[in-house]
Symmetry: C2
Subunit: 83 residues, 2 copies
């Protein structure tokens, strides 16, 4: 069994209105030390048995096609083998 | 300067309709090896200079109050000191 963790974040320089909203809410709650917030997605996928190299290349495809928007988002994939 | 990474995930046993939707979309695209998907949030916060212990306790408060819904979500915080 393969466990994959996918992190999707807005690219540097791309506007992040959700992050801006969270920043303003935190400051309004009294957390003035917070200077910047970027909001992304975190996904955990469980995959059936397949070789790690193949899992990585299939996961990169999934990110390009569905999990991330490569025009405005970066992604990072971690793969772990579980029993 | 302190960089914090916050991971928010649906608690085990809590329904995750977004994860289910992504799972079905991946299977429809031909990725039949994917067995389960859980979708959470990933946030990166930049904080001003403050001691690490204080940063951690303030961040836990922010998660409880705003960044996560502790009834249905777990969260994990990583703190890193940057120059």
């Amino acid at each position: 069994m393969v466990i994959a963790r996918v992190y999707v974040t807005p690219k540097k320089g791309v506007l992040d209105p959700q992050g801006k909203a969270v920043l303003q809410a935190l400051q309004a709650l009294g957390y003035g030390e917070v200077e910047e917030v970027r909001v992304g997605k975190f996904m955990e996928l469980r995959l059936g048995e397949l070789p790690e190299a193949e899992a990585r290349s299939r996961l990169a495809e999934m990110c390009e096609k569905l999990l991330a928007n490569p025009l405005i988002e970066d992604y990072r994939v971690e793969v772990e083998r579980a029993r």
